[in-house]
Amino acid sequence: MLKYILFAIAGIFQISLQAKSIEGWIFDGADSNAKAPLTGANVYWVGQTSGTITDQNGYFKLKKPDGAHMLVLSFVGYASDTLHISGAKAIKHTLYPGAQLSEVTITERVKATSISRIDPRLTQTISQKELNRFACCNLSESFETNASVDVSYSDAVSGVKQIRLLGLDGRYSQLMLENIPILRGAETAFGLDYIPGTWMERINVSKGASAVKNGYESMTGQINIQYKEPMGDEKMHFYAYANQDGKLETNLGYTQKVTDKWATSILAHGATHVREMDMNDDGFLDKPMTNIGSFMNRWQYMGDKVDGKFGISYLAEERNAGQVGFDPDIPHQNQSAYGIGIDVERFSAFSKVGFMFGRPQTSLGTILSFNYFDRNSFYGDRIFNTEQLNLYGNFIFQTYLFNTMHSYNTGLSVVYDKNNSLFQDSAYNNANFVPGVFLEYNYKPTDKLTFMAGMRYDNSSRYGGFFTPRVHFKYRFLEYLTIRTSAGKGYRSPYAIDENTSLLASSRNFIFDEEIEQEEAWNYGASIVTDYPLFGRDMTFSVEYFYTQFENKLVVDREQSSEAVHFYNLMGNAYASSIQAELMIELFERFDLTAAYRINDVRTNYSGELLQEPFVNKYKGLISAGYATNMNKWVFDATVQFHGLSRLPGVYDNDPEFYGISKPQSFINVIAQVTKNYRKWSFYVGVENLTNFTQDYAIVDVENPFGNNFDASMVWGPLYGRMFYGGIKYILIK
């Protein structure tokens, strides 16, 4: 019975759609038969989020919204075409192999944040427009206006921000720069600060199990960053930013075409902190005195059968924090004031080359990357130095079986990680060599249904061999409703001290109860997304649920004692469940509104007791609004964040005031910005933490930083009050 009702509803939709639809056939230019259909090609309107895929006959049908007339046809490994659509006659068009291997770019569709209809995984794309809503300095801050990713401070002195996805720390999601895994091991602690916001073209956030071709590491999801490319739209950009707290920042990007097939670009970023501040009078600097400089040179090659991207980058950073009287120019051993000093140097290089073959949907991609990271630091009289080398190679062959309904990719990867650390007087040296193979099968019989199953096997020189299975299923019905489910496994090699350096800002002893094993977790997820245009306006509503179940976890136990942190393997249960509802709507012309609400339940067994994970908010709410005047001359943005209650670890939770720290509360945070755009220049002013809510006391035994009770890692809320900022942007389009 239900089936008939559904059919009837579908029928009604069909009729109402026929009036303003466009249909057509796309043919495969690679096939000698001139009218061979091209299955699975993407068809979408420029400036719109709606799109579809061709079926096994190369046929598509797509609604034509008002004002849409530029139709994009694209297919992996093929040159994309854009057609002007006038009238309602059917389209017959042939796509030819060549150009762009990597993935279909969706930059034309300028929505601030959008959920892909095509991707079998639940993927949110954060575009330039979203990144501009909050003039932020680096990757961690670019998530302030996003409901899915949480941003918080890790401790009260180093100024390092961390992110959380599905309620779990950012290290459980895989961070990638253009599909190359980055910020691993030793870099997880503050690597997010190393990705300048202005270098980014867009960010893709995929929740739940990921594709096996990118490795075994993702547990909660993937965050893939796309930098601006030499062959992109921009010729040049220059940004300058200053804020009330004395942070100054500049960014520069410049691209140059070398030949018809080669282009290059440079990206430079510099930031400094010039004002010593202690607004809460606790004797400690509120924000560290930081100098950071980074530089990148990229090259891009686009040939008929070969695509290539190459790059090198260098970064240097120094961070000084601690008590107001601390002088970073004098060795810390010779001073009575408590100081923190962190010096970092990083060098990396990458190469990505793709080869297209005569057969449609068939290509070979190679990715090579090198990363060297060196960190020297002290926290009071504790020394922590790390030197890390990461080498990565990934070879992906992609093609289809019988016809393009059945496609697959397979290949092999090699990862080598070497990490030498010195903590106080103990050396922790380890190396891990992991070769692996993978196979992923994709079944796409229609544009409505996708089934994806992947498996990989890796053999670690430290932990032995292991399998990583992952499956995804997507089905779209009634044109506007998409359901997705996924399940999959992920593994991580934990680096206990590197990943918890915020605990160095305390007098806790680091105690390793046992040899730490590889971390291992299952993730299950389901989501439903509808993008039915409400009253003719764009609208997306989604509900999602994700559950991460740990098989093994590095337990960071601050519960047993306030003078020690214990590290051990999981005994018993650890899980994270996250349920989120999100509505994105264009309420009236040029006014976008996002409202989201999420409930987290994250628990870990701490020496026999299943406790809520400390510092994780029980809920998070977000309302974000953006309005642009006609022709985009003025842009107004505001975001309100609602943070639920969190828990402090151990004895501190019972009576935090007794230990001199503020009791956790739920709180509201507001950020707002006004931008004025001119021809090439833009000016903006904004404010962070408009409500001026702060955690007044964040350091335990602040009077005795060298004593046994000192602890600066008890941070649950914003440490700084209201802050104004302003800046200028200059962008030259090619």
Partner: protein, 101 residues
């Protein structure tokens, strides 16, 4: 803090009252035929033409290859706007003129 808000409020009031005063002036709507062929052209035009003198509204129609501009006749003219489009590298012809006020 209060002062800053006051200043912003005053600045906003002044700018609105200025634009209100200007509305009595005569507005002209002109359509230019233009050899546009891609989304990037639209992006480029929307970054340039709105900032020409006296321009009140700009609509780009890629389908018809047209750019429609509304502007105050006291501040600009068809010829000057045509020149601005030509400066961006387009071949332009003035299609029709339709006075609004």
């Amino acid at each position: 803090m209060k002062k800053i808000i006051q200043l912003i409020a005053i600045a906003l009031l002044v700018s609105t009252s200025v634009s209100l005063q200007a509305q009595d002036k005569k507005v002209q709507k002109t359509t230019f035929e233009c050899n546009l062929d891609c989304h990037k052209c639209e992006m480029k035009i929307m970054k340039e033409i709105p900032f020409e003198k006296g321009v009140k509204d700009v609509k780009v129609d890629l389908d018809k290859k047209e750019v429609t501009v509304e502007y105050k006749t006291s501040k600009n003219s068809d010829a000057q706007l045509k020149k601005a489009l030509e400066k961006m590298g387009y071949v332009v012809t003035i299609k029709k003129e339709k006075p609004i006020k």
